[in-house]
């Protein structure tokens, strides 16, 4: 696909749910029988983005921000309330099967394997489902086995796999037919550090060499920092950031975080201009400050003068911290020169 048409596109994509609000207990449910109070949930609220072939995009947001709902619309599971989406030029919710044949999907909390079958037979089922020719299947399996170490798991029934083992198999399952687009919805669940690292390397490889377009939703910001060049942040169904991951860090580069551990519990901390306490845990305090207003040296000397310090560390802003602060509305996103689209303006809260 050398055309300039984006591989994945969302235009004013909206998904609303109505949820019944039934009261508590027996009386509540009896009341609900006659009088239904409905609540409208704007799970995805007019989002716009265009993702090109070969991009590796991090799609993050708090629980309930609308990440999974977006993925479910792009994979054809859910039909949008309004707006449109396309994947590989196919409208997923209208041509679900056609779309499904060309994408790979991993939902970390579910499995697409057959619970009662050995892993090998599950893969065999998928081979038939996706109509993968035998030679291509063997080639794919060989590659997947090398990257994900599947061989020892092949004869085990899926229900006996550990969470991490199942995750490896599920990632392999999504790639058997060598899809052009891969959706990973919180795939890190249950993986130990080592397995995580090898899966990251593998994902980077299929993205770089195979040109596979990947959308990854995760709560693990290390995944995002290591893998995703582009980051889309979702909050309350709206896109609040859509740009390079590095750029987010640069924008907040002047923000520093210092962790100070005091010998005793300090109540009223001497304050510097632009300093705020972001977290407290026993005698430890996490302080962020604007490096343009007050600098690290000043802060440390001030601390050392007034208090007995046990430990101290200075950190560069991590994407995780930045995003946490964005969620908590401690920091507002800097205004962009250009708006990303109608759905991407930072919402004012309270």
């Amino acid at each position: 696909m050398a055309s300039s048409e984006p591989t994945i596109k969302a235009e004013n994509l909206v998904k609303h749910f109505t949820v019944d609000k039934s009261g508590r207990g027996f009386l509540g449910s009896m009341k609900a029988l006659f009088h239904r109070r409905k609540r409208l949930v704007k799970a995805v609220d007019a989002i716009n983005f265009a993702i090109r072939q070969g991009e590796f995009v991090g799609y993050v947001g708090e629980n309930g921000a609308g990440k999974s709902t977006t993925i479910k619309m792009l994979t054809g599971i859910l039909v949008p309330t309004s707006g449109s989406a396309s994947v590989n030029g196919i409208i997923p919710y209208e041509n679900r099967k056609e779309n499904a044949a060309k994408i790979g999907v991993v939902f970390g909390q579910r499995t697409q394997l057959w619970w009662d079958l050995p892993v090998r037979e599950s893969f065999e089922m998928l081979r038939v489902i996706f109509r993968v020719p035998a030679t291509e299947f063997h080639y794919s399996m060989g590659r997947l086995d090398k990257a994900l170490d599947l061989e020892p798991l092949m004869e085990m029934p899926v229900r006996k796999l550990s969470l991490g083992q199942r995750m490896r198999c599920d990632i392999a399952a999504a790639l058997i037919h060598r899809p052009k687009v891969l959706f990973l919805d919180e795939p890190a669940i249950g993986l130990d550090v080592l397995a995580k690292e090898s899966i990251r390397n593998f994902l980077a490889e299929i993205n770089r060499e195979g040109g596979t377009t990947i959308i990854l939703t995760t709560h693990d910001m290390n995944d995002i920092e290591q893998l995703c060049e582009r980051l889309i942040i979702l909050d309350d169904g709206k896109i609040i950031y859509d740009d390079e991951t590095e750029l987010l860090k640069k924008k907040f580069l002047n923000e520093k975080e210092v962790m100070v551990e005091f010998h005793e519990n300090v109540e009223n901390l001497q304050s510097l201009p632009g300093l705020s306490i972001t977290r407290e845990e026993g005698n430890k305090k996490w302080l962020t400050f604007d490096n343009n207003v007050s600098n690290t040296g000043e802060l440390i000397s001030l601390m050392a003068k007034h208090y007995k310090i046990k430990d101290l560390s200075v950190r560069e802003p991590s994407v995780e911290n930045i995003i946490r602060n964005i969620y908590d509305n401690r920091i507002a996103l800097p205004k962009h020169d250009e708006p990303y689209g109608s759905g991407s303006k930072m919402e004012e809260k309270k």
Partner: protein, 266 residues
């Protein structure tokens, strides 16, 4: 969906059923118990009343009907809450990310389920019943072929009713009341317990209007020779009409339901 996949889905469900061996023994006992209860009931009824002349069923005929209707009903065992359960726990997502027709996938799984019940329960129950009860089935290959065809149509009608009711889970959080209603209608109007011939006027009219008699009653009376061979084409035409109607209803339910689906959790 190609045939290879269709058969694979059937065999996976079949394999899964076989792993639950306890269910198997319970199933045979339970099925045979029902046959025993119904045949005993009919025998008791026939010894007391003039019921025989009223319906035209001889004792042998009604025993044959009771056994065969139960045998077919067990063969038609379906997991009618399958769609509901998958919507409830959200695993319906995993069905929809496959390039496979949802309808055909459910059908093949249903066939796998029913094949197990046919082999594991219907077959032994029929064999045992032939020895224990006075059963009369005419030996007529053409009739038997008509029965098979009629049974397939009946099966498909029942499957599509279950499929359509199951799809209500796309709209409603709880579909148990619908399933209960369907179960009640099916039990009465399919002739599973009492053949339609015994129904009083108004119930008989209802039975004629509804599709349920085509599920069990029609194939059973064809098999046992109660239906005249000249009447068989008309009965099967009735089945075909409902087959097409249910196909349309299933399709419409699917199209309308798609946009109503909400998937709980991750």
């Amino acid at each position: 969906m190609n045939l290879e996949l269709f058969i694979k889905f059937i065999s996976v469900t079949l394999q899964k059923q076989i792993t639950y061996r306890f269910d198997y023994f319970m199933g045979i006992t339970n099925g045979f118990l029902y046959v025993f209860i119904f045949t005993s009931l009919w025998r008791a009824l026939y010894s007391q009343t003039q019921i025989q002349s009223h319906s035209g069923f001889t004792l042998t005929a009604i025993i044959t009907y009771a056994v065969m209707a139960m045998a077919v009903r067990i063969a038609f065992s379906m997991d009618d809450s399958a769609i509901y359960k998958r919507v409830q726990d959200g695993s319906v997502s995993m069905d929809l990310i496959r390039p496979v027709s949802f309808f055909l996938m459910n059908l093949s799984q249903s066939i796998g389920y029913s094949l197990f019940h046919t082999m594991a329960r219907t077959m032994p129950i029929v064999v045992i019943s032939v020895f224990l009860f006075d059963i009369s089935i005419p030996f007529d290959p053409i009739r038997f072929i008509a029965f098979l065809l009629s049974a397939v149509m009946g099966y498909l009608i029942l499957f599509m009713i279950n499929f359509s009711v199951g799809l209500l889970a796309f709209w409603f959080v709880e579909i148990f009341p619908f399933m209960l209603l369907k179960y009640g209608f099916f039990t009465l109007f399919s002739g599973a317990i009492v053949p339609i011939d015994f129904f009083p006027g108004f119930l008989k009219v209802m039975a004629e209007i509804l599709p349920f008699q085509y599920i069990l009653y029609t194939p059973t009376v064809i098999l046992m020779g109660r239906a005249d061979m000249t009447a068989v084409p008309e009965m099967m035409a009735g089945q075909a009409v409902w087959l097409i109607l249910m196909l349309l209803i299933s399709r419409m339910m699917w199209i309308a339901g798609r946009s109503k689906l909400i998937v709980q959790g991750g």
